[in-house]
Symmetry: C2
Subunit: 398 residues, 2 copies
């Protein structure tokens, strides 16, 4: 170890950004050498991606330049893609270089979990990044333009969303709002457009309050969404999906939101995983690697009340980032580490303009109140990472 410890943070998602922000605040001058590595020179707000994906908001509102967030006098930023993590050598191999570390924070985000459904990787879109949602938006608009030239192809106007979790439901809410605009713009008869949500589980939004789930489905059905709950996608083809007992639903647009798994780089690094995720210790460290912290989609943290893992959310990743930064500072100063305890503030799912459902502070919310609550949560996040200037720049007002 050099005289100044080297901290390398991989990924500028919720976990990586919060760790960086806290480190730059808490570390003293020359106490550590911190480097943040990210594929893009921007951070994106994953919980907002359903809007630009549907085209109801500009992708610019879902990203923030990293240079606006971190203080480059305190933290080095490297724009590169991670190729390999080598815990045995304490090195990270980048596409265009190598970094050595004393402490590594892995916040690389997950990958879509397709459960081995044939054709899903090849033929479906994912709501995963700025680039992927721009592609979805452009693809949807393109289908409307194509339909006008080939009016027998009504499959161009069928939009299939696989998965009725948070991302799927929030995307459907936005898409249902966008369809009337697109029909107007392209002179398309709205009755030809179909939005179909397919979910294998026996309910939409599993784990959510049943009364709120009922309300959400009603709101979305009124906007024209068809639900196929308890229906498994058997295959995704270039022409649509096969469900249930071989029924084909023709579509040129399948968006898969059915699940997230950990990043393959972690498995490849020789770190023990369950579906790519690492069952971290109480301080968020990988088992057997005291200097490697795993945050966000790649970590498994168990709820002590029911012994089940917490679902990967922005909320838990942010709290992990704060805890991780604290423990890094404590390690450097030879102070005791603090165990990570998740404090669940609740969750709100938007259902399009002016509609949402949610649970917060132990209370249920729906409709316009829940939509306000969602907006406040979004603005609070902007405030946490970038203060008032970022709220003013990116926060859409009502």
């Amino acid at each position: 170890m050099s005289s100044i410890p080297k901290i390398v943070i991989l990924g500028a998602g919720y976990g990586g950004v919060l760790t960086s922000l806290r480190l730059q605040k808490e570390l003293n001058y020359n106490e550590a050498d911190v480097t943040l590595v990210n594929k893009h020179d921007y951070h994106y707000i994953t919980t907002h991606l359903h809007m630009p994906a549907a085209g109801t908001d500009n992708p610019e509102n879902a990203r923030v330049n990293i240079s606006k967030l971190i203080d480059e006098f305190k933290i080095d930023f490297v724009k590169s893609t991670v190729v390999q993590i080598r815990p045995q050598d304490r090195k990270v191999i980048l596409e265009d270089g190598t970094l050595s570390y004393d402490y590594l924070i892995v916040g690389l985000g997950g990958e879509p979990e397709t459960f081995g459904i044939p054709g899903m990787v090849e033929n479906a879109f994912n709501i995963r990044s700025i680039n992927s949602v721009r592609l979805i938006r452009e693809h949807i608009e393109y289908q409307f333009a194509r339909f006008k030239r080939e009016p027998h192809r009504t499959d161009y106007l069928t939009f299939i969303v696989g998965g009725a979790g948070f991302t799927g439901i929030e995307f459907i809410g936005e898409l249902a709002d966008r369809i009337p605009e697109l029909c107007k713009q392209f002179d398309v008869d709205q009755s030809l457009v179909k939005i179909i949500n397919i979910e294998a589980a026996p309910t939409a939004l599993p784990g959510f309050d049943p009364e709120l789930v009922e309300y959400a489905m009603q709101v979305l059905q009124n906007k024209g969404v068809t639900f196929r709950i308890g229906t498994a996608v058997k295959e995704c083809t270039p022409d649509g999906v096969i469900v249930g007992e071989g029924e084909e639903i023709k579509s040129q647009t399948v968006i898969w939101t059915g699940g997230v798994r950990g990043n393959r780089l972690i498995e490849e690094a020789g770190i023990e995983t369950m579906r790519g995720r690492v069952k971290v210790d109480e301080f968020l460290r990988a088992p057997g690697h005291e200097n490697v912290y795993i945050l966000g989609d790649n970590s498994l943290v168990f709820n002590p009340e029911n012994e089940r893992p917490y679902p990967p959310t922005a909320q838990i990743a942010m709290q992990q980032g704060v805890n991780c930064a604290h423990n890094l500072v404590a390690s450097i100063r030879n102070q005791p580490l603090k165990p990570f305890v998740f404090s669940n503030k609740g969750a709100v799912a938007s259902l399009g303009k002016g509609e949402a459902i949610g649970v917060a502070f132990g209370k249920k919310y729906k409709g316009r109140t829940a939509a306000w609550l969602k907006k406040i949560i979004d603005l609070r996040y902007l405030f946490i990472i970038g203060g008032i200037p970022l709220v003013l720049r990116k926060g859409k007002f009502f």
Copy 2:
């Protein structure tokens, strides 16, 4: 013939709209029964389509509802597609009905002339209608989004325009203006984008003043356009084009502006044609059919000075419409017909924002002055068809 003669006008392009507008002004009450037939319930301004195709203007600015143009107390409007013209029965078969006529005005517009180049019909786009230009715009944006997900596919960023006539050149000017915006929007390195114009003739804009052509090419080259003049497209494939001696240029976007031929419906009607066009008599009538007038892209009118046909332009179609309406009224009133004489007011080609070249009133113009002239011509057209209200609604101000 019924007591009130029936006039049927096919197509609400420049010729059909001008004929309709003049007839509704000049005919007395109950002097004739006029029906305008058009595929869409809007007229589109073909000379403006290069802008929405490139995405530099909204397609709404290139179309006008027919109900805003014609007085439905004087002219019936039928939204339908013409399936067959039967001069022997004096009938027109529509997709959903039949119309009989005493006088027929054919202003159906032309079709792309691909000169039998293999694959061009299947694989290239055309700048021909609102639907076709919306498809081009969406297709171009989609290529940028796709490239971000498959960065090795630089062919997504190569845009080939076949033909350096008016439409090709004007489209290239707009596309070159749009590229920097698209690069910014999708985070694409602009140096990867190519616009290639391929023209088989020995010069761009054949027939135009060579000094102005030189200027136009310089302006477009400065915007990053590559010209391949004197180069024939041999084949258009799903992967690009084959030119010259077998050279392949990879591209996912080929826009063919190489020529226009007449509408197949006219040949199928048994009317004598040259490449689908009808060599009309001095009153714009089809030979052997005294009650059938052919306007616009489907008519061949020869320049008496050089015995060559005038190129099909909006300008000539509009003048034909005015002449045709005059002759219809004269026919009904048993007055002598007036021969059609084309009065060439000149031509201006835009080269993107603030740049154009043109000849008008016997003088050459280029740069900003020519761009103003172009704008004035566009506004004058809106004024002719829809008066001041239309100018205010559709005319973009500077």
